[in-house]
Symmetry: C2
Subunit: 225 residues, 2 copies
């Protein structure tokens, strides 16, 4: 565990969250944005480590810890990954048909401008059965997404933006990052300083899609009920 984790646990794991602490957690949840606009700058090694440790503190099915983080330090490598995303953006635009023009107006990644780029890769299956006998693939993927959500909230609390880019062909990213057989890239995370956070989720702000009211996604005792 990290020093921060040790400190928090030593400090008193059981102590109740105060109103101020609770409000801070909700603030991170509501003020977090999936960012595509970055302004260069840098993320200190200390802050980056805190964000990565936050990801690594996520829950995982059967305690598998199936996430692998690859920090992209090499500029050539970043450029090759950006090309993979550009190529898939074009294919996505074509596949969207009637909404192609609208899609092309959106900024869908900030890979050239972000301070740090981190690939998140699913490790090859280690054969774990606990908690995933019936949903082996889904539960590993869920664990990795929980780690990324932790990083997103930690980044916001560090006053940094983060964006999850998933517009890529995973086999191409796997090849560039020399992933072993069975490993699967799930995210290219753009991380770094931003000029401002979107007032609403970008795709809502840009009228790509509406935010559903809670009542549309909440049922009682049966689906749709």
């Amino acid at each position: 565990m990290s020093d921060l984790a040790d400190e928090i646990v030593a400090m008193d794991l059981q102590r109740a969250f105060s109103d101020v602490e609770r409000a801070s957690v909700y603030r991170a949840i509501y003020a977090r944005r999936d960012m595509r606009h970055f302004c260069g700058g840098e993320v200190s090694a200390e802050v980056l480590k805190r964000i990565l440790e936050a990801g690594h503190a996520a829950p995982s099915v059967g305690f598998m810890q199936p996430w692998r983080f690859i920090r992209i330090a090499d500029k050539g490598l970043r450029s090759r990954l950006t090309d993979v995303v550009s190529a898939e953006s074009k294919r996505t635009a074509e596949a969207l048909g009637g909404r192609k023009a609208e899609f092309l107006k959106l900024k869908v990644e900030g890979m050239r401008e972000c301070a740090e780029l981190i690939a998140v890769v699913q490790a090859p299956d280690d054969g774990s059965i606990f908690g995933r006998r019936t949903m082996p693939e889904e539960m590993v993927v869920c664990s990795i997404a929980c780690a990324i959500q932790n990083m997103w909230l930690a980044a916001r609390a560090e006053n940094l933006g983060m964006g999850w880019v998933s517009i890529f062909e995973p086999s191409e990213v796997a090849s560039i990052l020399k992933c072993p057989e069975g490993a699967k890239p799930l995210a290219l995370l753009c991380l770094g300083p931003v000029r401002e956070f979107y007032r609403k989720p970008m795709l809502q702000q840009e009228n790509w899609r509406e935010h559903l009211p809670l009542r549309d996604v909440l049922f009682e005792d049966g689906y749709g009920a």
Copy 2:
């Protein structure tokens, strides 16, 4: 958006997180546990709504918002779902072979004792392409896991425990909850007051598996590098 979300955005979305706010977010991340031990009690309607809204504030690929929350209010229904989990626990124990006895000593769900039980179901595919042309299933599942992680952290900030039960046959849960074709249950969330939070993740505490050092999951410029 919820009142809380409106309040936070109105309050100043751009304002930097203070040290205290940042520490509170990390505290939730490190003090969160995947709980299986609950002590009955209840969750007020107001607190439950805040936790559900926190889930609904998660990011989602193409802003799909593919999560559906089903609150289980009926006792008979809770009992039937618990039976489904018990049956799969037995099958999991058999599949574990050499670790069967060790597995059977663990408490793997708190479905009878938790104050609230919430099923989280993946909505039928709506045909969205944005951000998931190459990974259609993974990205929907990731979005739902981000929502659940938000709920987990919100629950901890509300001083409540939450546990994600995934030991079930999804088709059986889908049938009990009258899910439409294409909808898929991913989680049975146990939520409520707990006597205490595990000092370490339960599977680590019970020596099921070790926590990896960060260096084992962090690479630079290539997998394993």
